[in-house]
Symmetry: C2
Subunit: 322 residues, 2 copies
């Protein structure tokens, strides 16, 4: 099962999300519309809208609010991508040139702001403040995760606990919110909402661990973005954290010197050391552990097609090569 | 009358806003709190909270919602300042080092995001979606204004109409929203809300024209930020637009060559040409015109102390040296 197959089952709903996305971002200014066009070219997996929609379907009937919410979370996600590209000085994302590379850092900052602003604007079209409050809380957490990450840049002593704090806030919190809101707007009970939220949190954690693994050992052509960027920007991720904790003193010093060294081929050197160790497997095991937690969180749900698709998604995120 | 004197009359309310500002931005992460500390050092005129509070008082009684709204608009404003500093590469703002200069562009982008996120989060604590929707619409416009501005960077043929479109969206729209929301949450009628909105729009326009004038002919020590930045970043403002339209062909070519030229003393050269012309006066006259419109928008309001203070503010914004 791949995400593309899952998405196929909610094709119509996702098309509505794409339409709403385009409609909401339209401006009376040509220059704004031209810039926004770049974003749609970078549209990716639609993981977050899919979570909103399937969480909703697994708890009851989808409503118009689900299309709105699915669009809102995708906009939040796109905003973080656009601003991440400023942060990361990445020149390649989704096999297309990044906004900042094409149009300069200023346009990238403003386009990210435009996306955040429209996500809140769209969200506030719903009947109650419930979703706005949750989305606001979540974007607060996403910012905190990113800030914690740059605070620990080049910190070779970063521990696993802090790594998990970072990815929980910057990635998993939004996935949790997708599932929580999907459930809430389908009329789910408080208990069911919590189950779905935990599902999203665990799935999001597994997803980010896998992202970090792919950044080291992925295939650039398949993944479609510049690899080795985490290292480039001084971000330590799980495989390296594990390596530095478990390798022999000699190997550890060797790894530290490579990571600190600014040579252009250090990503290859790091990859070699990691592949000869157990650290990539360890990270994969951790991701698998979070997948199990995600699936366990669904145990109590009635057996529907949507539940089975969510279950399949949890497995997919830690298994993907893209 | 200065803004400081106006603020003195609502000292208690503004203190509550400062407290709410600090409370809302607090995090369980020390690194986030350390970064946020920088922002409060840059706290400035409190123009926007003052507009919310006085607009409210001029239409009825202040409520708890006014403190929330006043904090929300100040956060939006601070976010734009922090991101503007990234855009502008300004090294000095409010007589303190800018965030990006102190902590790097990445921290500045994220801190701006953190402020935007918290402004929406705080706004969504209110009872209804009304304010969230208006704030979202306004931040959309602010982004559009900024995007239109960078679209016309280095465009020596920028016309006045486009200049006014830019400043209406990037500055005046938020001032208009401050007054509209202040009135709304004091129970004002639709007509009264429109009057206050127009007041804010006109005041904000006058404020920005004066800001642009000060960037050229202000005294850096008084204004407390790097001057000449508009020119530095290729932003044409009203005095130069007027000069290029009205000067003799010879002088116009001279001005164009100075503006296009990257020499470090070009701000002085531009200042000299403008001061010897009528263009600074023209811009001052335009600002005065918007002040008159602002004051006229208040004509129908009952004669209260708050109305008189708003009236005084309109005059102040176009007259200030800071």
């Amino acid at each position: 099962m791949t995400l593309a197959l899952v998405n196929e089952t909610i094709k119509k709903e996702l098309a509505a999300v794409e339409q709403l996305f385009t409609d909401e971002l339209g401006s009376d200014l040509g220059c704004v519309n031209n810039l926004v066009k770049h974003v749609s070219r970078f549209r990716g997996k639609m993981l977050r809208p899919t979570l909103v929609l399937l969480a909703g379907k697994s708890c009851g009937e989808l409503t118009d609010a689900h299309a709105v919410l699915a669009t809102v979370v995708e906009m939040v996600h796109m905003a973080t991508l656009v601003h991440d590209d400023v942060l990361d000085e990445a020149e390649l994302r989704r096999k297309g040139a990044t906004i900042n590379h094409l149009r300069g850092n200023e346009a990238a900052v403003l386009l990210g702001d435009y996306l955040i602003s429209h996500s809140f604007h769209l969200c506030s079209s719903l009947d109650s403040q419930f979703a706005s409050r949750i989305i606001g809380r979540t974007t607060n957490q996403v910012c905190e995760g990113e800030l914690l990450q740059i605070h620990h840049r080049n910190n070779l002593d970063l521990d696993e606990e802090t790594y998990f704090q970072i990815i929980r806030r910057k990635t998993a919190s939004l996935c949790a919110t997708c599932c929580l809101l999907g459930a809430k707007y389908a009329g789910a009970s408080e208990v069911r909402m919590s189950q779905l939220e935990l599902f999203g949190l665990s799935l999001g954690t597994a997803f980010q661990i896998q992202d970090d693994i792919l950044d080291i050992v992925g295939d650039a052509n398949t993944v479609g973005k510049t690899l080795g960027l985490d290292l480039e920007k001084g971000k330590l991720t799980l495989p390296i954290i594990h390596y530095l904790r478990t390798a022999s003193p000699q190997k550890r010093e060797w790894m530290r010197s490579i990571v600190e060294n600014q040579s252009p081929d250090r990503i290859d050197a790091v990859r070699k050391l990691l592949l000869a160790s157990d650290s990539i497997n360890y990270a994969r095991h951790c991701a698998g552990d979070h997948v199990s937690r995600a699936r366990a969180a669904l145990a109590d749900l009635p057996d529907t097609k949507s539940k089975r698709l969510l279950d399949a998604m949890a497995e997919f995120v830690a298994d993907r090569a893209v």
